[in-house]
Symmetry: C2
Subunit: 254 residues, 2 copies
DNA sequence: TCATATTCGAGAGCAGTGCTCTCTGTCGAG
DNA sequence: CTCGACAGAGAGCACTGCTCTCGAATATGA
């Protein structure tokens, strides 16, 4: 049974063990360190496989141990708890969805093309990794608090969207349509400088937040079946959503 | 361990047992039937309590049985599986969020007031019932397919939004701003007549779908912590979101 | 009214889980 | 070469969902 303090401890020990920041040390001095790094990676890979196939709910430390032919207690030498293993998988998922977004972004293209390409890439990744998506954007594990490691890597995907808008704005291509203006007090001041050297005003920031929320939300609806019998062509509806949200943020769609 | 067929069977037996449609029969002929109905309700109430306090992940049939002072095996006389119990709770949650929306809607008020009131009511209910919210809009149980009972009751909340728009439209108060137009093929044709005697065109329907998705999505962001360090005043940001989405659908906000 | 059939509760039991503890062997640094 | 840190295995605890059996209580038909 998990309690809040259990999980907090697990997260802390995870930060200490830190198997993510140094999965395979560049220079593994001793054979033991090398073996440890390799086994850590193997455990993570096996867990990843089970996550992809069966989802987080059915992922168990024991089955991972079985797959690697080791005693379940031995796995605890590498991950102090199941939650710690989950945290590592969460970091991986955030990283991958962020990379999917970044890799899809071609700064030489027009802002509209970039916007659509990134949205589609994020959707593609999510459809291909529904369980990873659920892990990071679905119901959080009870009592689970995201360790600080995750919040940095979680920003890569939305920051890609912000960069496109910043570039468009710099060339005068960001003209949001009129509508209700977001009260500045609603936005965390630190959010106004989320790109170095690039200032968004509160309303622009709010539009960005909503676009990011939309991207995640509409994919969630598709993945979780809320669009069944609602939309007839999910890809088409998604593209329309991307364009709608792009237009809302001020990109010249239509 | 749950397999798809297991769950399908459980859902079917649930539909047969049908403890929701007749929780307490008006005229319980025999004492046995009366006792059965009462105990079913008690189990459901205890499960509800545990769900509210600890969330679905920590809800176990055994702890429900313990709370009621009965053997765990006895509970299976009333609910064929844990998933069946969860399904009953899902139906309850959908019903309640739908009622929260409907009760907040005052048809005599202006469409903008109605819109905002319903949005706020849904948010209030969700904040007060975060685990129930997670149950219906969060990550679905692996392999779980929503039984048909749920899809009807799931529509009450979005239909409340649709009714407001239909009323506004009838009095000429629905004027959506221009923007990308949704291709008709993207929308399921049946969705165009979701209100009896009220026809929405595909683009209006798409805007409705997006508004419904936004309402659920922005609440999910708030509940799951994705707005931490992003927004400074969640209630204020939510109101702005409601207005923005209302304006997008064509209500005269600002 | 009485025998029969159905229902119900309890208990034991199976297979699985997360996690801890102990014991033994191995490896690495002094 | 010795000693301490580390890694693996195994047993064990408490918990889970779920099944089966076995009496006891209850309803039903004759």
């Amino acid at each position: 049974m998990h309690t809040r303090s259990d999980i907090a401890r697990a997260v802390l020990s995870f930060r200490y063990t830190d198997p993510m920041n140094a999965p395979i040390p560049a220079r593994a001095r001793t054979a033991r360190e090398r073996a440890r790094a390799e086994l850590t990676a193997e455990i993570l890979a096996a867990a990843r496989r089970q996550l992809r196939e069966d989802g987080a709910a059915l992922l168990s430390l024991r089955s991972v141990a079985r797959e690697l032919g080791m005693a379940s207690s031995a796995v605890y030498r590498y991950f102090a708890s199941r939650d710690e293993l989950l945290t590592a998988l969460i970091v991986q998922a955030y990283t991958e969805i962020g990379e999917a977004a970044e890799n899809a972004d071609r700064p030489s293209a027009s802002p509209e093309e970039r916007w659509l390409a990134v949205w589609r890439a994020v959707r593609e990744w999510s459809l291909a990794h529904r369980h990873e998506y659920a892990l990071i954007f679905g119901t959080p594990v009870p009592g689970y608090v995201a360790p600080h490691i995750t919040i940095e890597v979680a920003g890569r995907m939305p920051l890609t969207l912000a960069r496109i808008c910043a570039d468009a704005k710099r060339s005068g291509g960001l003209n949001p349509p009129s509508g209700p203006v977001c009260p500045p007090e609603a936005i965390e001041p630190a959010m106004l400088q989320l790109l170095p050297g690039e200032a968004f005003d509160p309303d622009e920031t709010a539009r960005l937040i909503l676009a990011w929320n939309r991207l995640v939300g509409i994919i969630g609806y598709e993945l979780h079946g809320h669009l069944a019998n609602v939309t007839a062509d999910d890809a088409l509806f998604f593209d329309h959503t991307a364009r709608t949200e792009g237009a809302y943020i001020g990109l010249p769609f239509n």
